[in-house]
Point group: none
Chain length 205, copies 4
DNA sequence: AATGAATGAGGATTCATTCAT
DNA sequence: TATGAATGAATCCTCATTCAT
């Protein structure tokens, strides 16, 4: 209604192609959910911020949770698209790990808000679901790499590695985002070393 | 609607030593927060479940968040008391890591509900605060161990290790709790190997 | 959520003679209003079920109430057309009463849904209006019959009889529809006897 | 008798014995539901009219429907208490029928608003439920009377009579309330005659 | 210390209805 | 004529929190 007239970039009334409107709503959702968390961000605010009415938000996303999930999914996809691009561009093994880690930290630096959207509200089942998906993607990357290198591993080993990397990445990110004094370069080096070693350690076990 | 649903362990009215009352409230809080998450558990429900009135809940804990934090803190302390006991009983190095990991998985097995309390509602700052504390404790353990072994490491290395272990432990727990087919023994072996290797990897970097 | 749930009898797009379109809308309205009642049936649902757009519904009927009234009127006319046909085919007096009652119960049996449409939402003024109309029609029938028989009666007597029959018919229908174990034949006998006696009773008073 | 907004007899804040508060809420509910119907009367309005907050309304009655049902039930009980009092005071047979009918019309005259509450919103299942209850009560009265007189009747006959009387009473009331020119006395005579005859008619069938 | 009555504020969701095309 | 995007305005309900007793 009132608070945070905010960006509302354009009066933008009436007739906007569906796709574009949707992007606007997701932008607003991502911003507000990221800034305030799920429960503190009201549909009213999000509607206001995207310059439309609440009713339209419901017409598009069905419910607050629906909108939240759509926001999370879009942000997650954005991140992983980048990670996978880097992964496939790099040579297997150490170089690839480093490339992915580098891309991850770059993302953290660039899109703090989105990252908080992703990991801010763990109470939402959407977030745990996302963690699982992320772990799967990472597991697949690791498995591919291993295959290329001619090695083998059990399903358990691969899955544990995927989850381990996702979990450590989450918490290390949380820590690093609050310790900007540590140069990104150094953080990448350390995390890469840890990840590489952990993978090797698990494969040996 | 929910008029005193729940189990209300005991009729329990009037004149109960302060400590015991408090425990009751925390028990109920831990159970309901763990089962439903912060926002879905209402003070009404918790009051009902502990057999006392809401007003008293407020007298003891000041606010819903206060109660939540007290619940988290008690559960966290319980976990870390165990971890530290195991840590100090074991010999430094590999054996100690294994001992702590073992204790952690035992806790997971034993107190699933409490674990969800701890990690269910990441939106609460209390949870991130707890993650930080956990990382500190783990960092300290690692540092002690390193000192005993005569090694050295930068503050960054140590802190990153702490956070990495805490984060991977969280997500691996999430994964393992949903894959009961993996024997605990095996999970411990893998996670220990990963942790040990990761530490070594970081220290080399 | 409910994206065009319902059966949507036909895809039916564009260019359909006005009359037919209108029938479709009324069919959908009658079904949904009958099933869910006025307030629970949304224009969205009705539009979806008739395979056309809400906007068109408004173009034809002006408002939700307008649509509702049109539905009620069509169903009411259908019922009374039948009753009047039977009435005029039968000989005056007892035989005619029996004929009308028989037709009424047959209708109940055949079109339960429509009956609920008619009497489901008494809060709508349309329903009370319909009750009044029905009472008038019945009063007229009674008056005609009386004239044929050479009797006389005051306006009050006639009107009271009309309303009495309509009211008892409504509630007896409600009761009978939930007691299918009572043979229709028997219900007709009893209701005919009651009606006949009541008329006579009033005329004597 | 009642209307003219805001009786709100007392600012009445804080601490009122439960029973009394409840009566006030029911008074307001009865008035507003009666005047505007179920859907048009908002909980906000009812709360305002009874000088309390919506939340308290919910604490007492659980939902809008809950409140409505409580209102209907109280009004219904009031009416039938009177009818039964009259019934048991009168001698069986014709005199008793007349006594009950007289009491009914007196009630109509006295409490128009309540009567509309009772029969205004037939879409509410509470109203059909009430109709059924009323029919049961009337059936019982008729059965008692018959027993006293030494007669017999089938269950179907008795139930049909009960429903018939209730239904005709409802619609005749609707009609009479809009035709104040008909003296109550005369209305009572006619309706009594009709009822008496209808009962006899059914019993003969 | 303990209670139960009472509140204020806000939030999600739904709907009838209307334009721009 | 027919559509689908868009709206504004209610409405129900929940909840944390506080007083009077």
């Amino acid at each position: 209604m009132n608070r945070l007239a905010e960006s509302r970039t354009v009066p933008a009334r009436r007739r906007m192609p569906r796709g574009e409107r949707e992007e606007r709503m997701l932008d607003a959702g991502e911003r507000l959910f990221g800034e305030r968390g799920f429960r503190a961000a009201s549909m009213d605010d999000i509607a206001g911020a995207s310059g439309i009415t609440k009713a339209l938000l419901y017409q598009y996303f069905g419910s607050k949770e629906g909108l939240y999930e759509a926001c999370v999914e879009r942000a997650r996809a954005r991140l992983f698209r980048q990670l996978e691009t880097e992964a496939s561009a790099a040579r297997p093994g150490r170089a690839r790990i480093r490339a992915v880690v580098t891309a991850y930290f770059a993302y953290l630096d660039r899109e703090r808000a989105s990252w908080w959207l992703l990991y801010g509200d763990a109470s939402m089942s959407a977030v745990n679901e996302m963690r699982r998906q992320n772990a799967e993607v990472v597991s697949r990357l690791v498995a591919d790499d291993l295959k290329t290198a001619g090695g083998t591993a059990s399903r358990d080993q691969i899955e544990l590695i995927g989850n381990l990397i996702v979990g450590s990445g989450e918490q290390v990110a949380r820590w690093w985002l609050e310790h900007p004094e540590l140069p990104r370069r150094r953080a990448i080096d350390l995390f890469t070393a840890a990840t590489e070693a952990a993978i090797a350690g698990v494969l040996r076990a």
